[in-house]
Symmetry: D2
Subunit: 188 residues, 4 copies
């Protein structure tokens, strides 16, 4: 099973990038999936503009990201909460990708994660972020993980430890067990 | 009472731009408020990036838009629904504006409108769009207007007619009655 | 594959009961699943009250309904929208069922449908209704069906016709294809 | 200004009942409003059933509660989160009250509070609970308070202390300042 993991943030030191990378490390270590992290900073898009789409076609970054998504069986998105809701970076990415034909998100399995410095761990952002994916036919895994106090929770190598690494590992195992079964069936 | 009106879309021929402008025309015609339309295409921002904010400060377009918002007593936003949820253009604008100090949205009154070519009129987008504003302390007017079949509903001068112009006028009257009273009180 | 279907309404002539029954008929006719309709009027509960739960245990209707849910591989819920959101009947049912140990909703696949007399077809209620199920670990199918103008759309035998029966049939086929694969895998 | 305060829970020892009562005590002590607490256990309703409404009319408890709401300028609702969303008790109450003519919630100002034993303080429930009120034309105050760790936060007399009492008092002051101004204007 192939998993593509990215963060809904552009910031270099983003806790959500760390979390998306940590998920890849754990998937690999426990042989749960062949996983790859991509940094949306390498897939920068302008704000969605239907005129630009009509005049110039879809941005090349959208086409490249769409191809990565199309190859994956499952997606992991670790995303910050901006103003109690979805991050603008994530929303803009989804809106551009939704314009691809065929639309690569349709029918994919998605696990949402969130890291935040505060006490709520981005829980409102997670729930708000489910909506556009579900509207596009994505199977968003019901369980999610919100990591509060994220400022001090990764070590220097960007790893989680203790209960948190166990919690993430269990969630990844449940998610890939669910999504991989689908991938097998569709391959069969 | 001063009202600032804009659309959550960049497209030149956007029905939501027409709707935001039509609201301004009606507010003026019925002397409900001194209203101004601004086109977000004139306030273009990059995707929100905390690194950019730290290194270069807030984009000049954000500062200009924030000043417009600060001067207004009420806001009108006509916004498309993208993928069953908030438009990326609107979300990105809100995320940048929320970084201004003082934050100009706090305590403002907002009326949300939506136009869409389909039958649902963007109703899911309207409800999804309330959340970031409310999280920022905006009083979002409970009543909203979703204009379905928007492709054929504006005349060549961009005006609504019949029941729809009456519906919008009634809503504008209720909104400004509510928000203007607040503005008076705060001035007193 | 076994499917349990019910409506989030108590009204005898509820369009949502008709829709939940029509789904059962189509599942049967196309041999997509062994499906059963239950009427929540036969599983009436008081309003959720933690004191009652502690003093008297769970109501017998909750235990009976929970057993039905536990036996099913998939669930279909056709539900009205009350005040732009989940129906109180459905929410109360979910809240009681969530107290069962083991909790029978966990990991189930759910298809949400809605019928309403108006033009929006209960679309806001559908999206609001996803949340408690997802919070309980249910895989809510991304596609949903909202049937507008439901007053005149069922014939005297309670059947849909034309495009609408085709739309429902396609959705049922997609849902059971997805959920049945899971059921097989888990049985294997 | 008159405020009606109640909790979205039936449980006798509910933290949300304590919170709704504590709000009344503080409103009174600081002369912010004439406030009254009512216990929904005294206004028990069956599950909403349109057949019952048609055959027997609205339950007497709904009529009594509606009259209380009609007399108030502002409402305070302290509500638990059930399964990541609105409590069934609160939803059922709203659904019945919405059937009164005239509908007493229209145009009211509402402050939402939440207490919960866990770490998130019912934050998801608060946001889910806004929706039906807003759909009914209620001005839901943007700021809300979610009290986490509620099991140990009230003293034996049911009072909050320290930062939490200050936080609630500030919120009540902001809410009544906002809503009372409206009440004055409408009286003038």
């Amino acid at each position: 099973m192939k998993v593509l993991s990215f963060a809904g943030s552009l910031r270099k030191e983003s806790s959500n990038k760390k979390l998306a990378r940590e998920a890849v490390r754990l998937l690999d270590r426990h042989a749960l999936a062949r996983a790859e992290f991509v940094d949306l900073k390498q897939y920068l898009t302008p704000l969605y503009d239907a005129d630009q789409e009509q005049d110039e076609g879809l941005p090349e970054a959208v086409i490249r990201l769409g191809a990565k998504i199309a190859e994956a069986d499952g997606l992991i998105v670790a995303t910050p909460e901006y103003n109690g809701s979805i991050s603008s970076v994530l929303k803009n990415t989804v809106d551009w990708v939704s314009r691809l034909q065929p639309m690569p998100l349709a029918g994919k399995h998605l696990l949402l994660l969130s890291a935040s410095p505060g006490g709520w761990g981005g829980i409102r952002g997670l729930w708000h972020s489910r909506v556009p994916f579900e509207a596009l036919g994505v199977h968003v895994f019901p369980q999610m993980m919100s990591l509060s106090g994220a400022g001090s929770t990764f070590d220097e190598a960007g790893r989680l430890s203790g209960d948190r690494v166990q919690q993430l590992q269990n969630l990844l195992s449940a998610f890939t067990g669910h999504a991989a079964a689908r991938a097998e069936l569709e391959a069969a």
